[in-house]
Assembly symmetry: C2
Amino acid sequence: MDSIKIFAPATVANVACGFDIFGFAVDAPGDEVIVRKRTDKQIVITQITGDEGKLTYDISKNTVSVPILKYLQYTQISEGFDIELHKKMPLGSGLGSSSASSVAGVFAVNELLGKPLVSKDLLPFSMEGERVACGSAHADNVAPALLGGFVVVRSYNPLDVFKVPTPSELFVTIVHPDIEVNTKDARHILRNEVSMKNTIAQMGNVAGMIAGLMQADYQLIANSMIDFIIEPVRAILIPEFFEVKNAALDAGALGCSISGAGPSIFAFSKGLETAEKVGIAMKSSFEKVGIIANAYVSGINQEGPKIIG
Amino acid sequence: MDSIKIFAPATVANVACGFDIFGFAVDAPGDEVIVRKRTDKQIVITQITGDEGKLTYDISKNTVSVPILKYLQYTQISEGFDIELHKKMPLGSGLGSSSASSVAGVFAVNELLGKPLVSKDLLPFSMEGERVACGSAHADNVAPALLGGFVVVRSYNPLDVFKVPTPSELFVTIVHPDIEVNTKDARHILRNEVSMKNTIAQMGNVAGMIAGLMQADYQLIANSMIDFIIEPVRAILIPEFFEVKNAALDAGALGCSISGAGPSIFAFSKGLETAEKVGIAMKSSFEKVGIIANAYVSGINQEGPKIIG
């Protein structure tokens, strides 16, 4: 095998109450990366599409190539690759766009080389793509993009992530409004301290979310989708956030919050039909004030990256 | 039925990472309460044993009678009862002593009256006993004493608690050193703010503990038994804390932390044999510096209060 085409999924990080520790993968959208072996030892980004010219071809700065460089350094494998990156989701959308590219690239190279490492071991390299994109090596998008499913980043030092089973009737609606929020800004407006009261309330919801997912207790999931720490601060960066959230809840969503750093907003629903209704309601709530928005409805993607060619 | 004798269990609150939200019940120790119907409408505490004379017979101030008064007020039942309270565990030990008494009393009265309320509905009344004991109506001891098992207090407003299944080979060792820590002091030394970094790390462990318990993943339970927020502060109130903790870990415990506000220290182990070894190691660590300590080894009590006569 000399070339491979990989799809890696978009991801929703934070998931209301789990700032920096929760994330899950969706079936769509996602990025596509094609990697081809070269006869020399060069790493070359040959094509980038879907980025409106915003991403660099510099392999030391692009989120698709940095994890590959780190991977080759770690495994001491000396091979060259051409990389095509096809962005199939908006940049800076809060959907883990950079993570999808990071994961797709390093997953592709690992496959082409005959899988010297198991998927989970690709995580540290993929996280280096996050560092390029947002300044720090977060795992809450990368880990679910790589492993699929609903993932908890229990600890960063040492790095420890695990998957949580999710109920089969849990569907997600993601609405991406056509506005820009910079991930670095979204981090900078957060406070460095949290009140003990909010910490306790948030821990209660984190526990509730895990138990709710594992027991397929939709009411417990709904009750636990309250964010006392991040949403109240970041919501101000997203025009119409509370109107859109209320529209989702009114349409039957279990809960609704910001996807990652925003501006995308996600909602959980029980059943595909409700999730679709919720999408229409959220989209139309944005459109009422003239903001164009795309809606995606999906189950929880359990697979992570996949070979599509 | 004119009289009843109830056992209600000791409880371990906080459970390392779950300050104010986690608690579980043990098989022993526990308090015993005897309640007898009176022919008049009076509520009278007729006998208290095991308290070294420290508890009041004033029904408006004793943790065993206050929940009963609130219960009768709420249900608008006009009956009189004699109450005997037999403390079978040390006061101010961090083992939920006041909660056991609160739960035993109101559970007894509800049984004697033919169970007008289900157990879970007794929680708000039992919490009023906590308010008398420590100034605020916490639920992390009362809820597991009442419901049995490992309990999460997801939210206080509205009050929402749920049980988490625990693995059958999970045993607890509790060591109570003969020193005094006042619960109010133990609360007052806590800061009102938590760093964002510690909040995130603690949430990761809360998620890990719930998933570890539900999946019987003992390694995940062990990894998650790290408290970044409370233990570092309260440990200074307990002489030899870190030596005792290290002794527990060296003897094979999964993890070890302060029980409630202390001074009791608890450890989780996989298997009864390890839990017993851990108890010997912890006790002897205290005794090395001349502190007398009692050790208890138990499974997780799934039953809560029980009728014993």
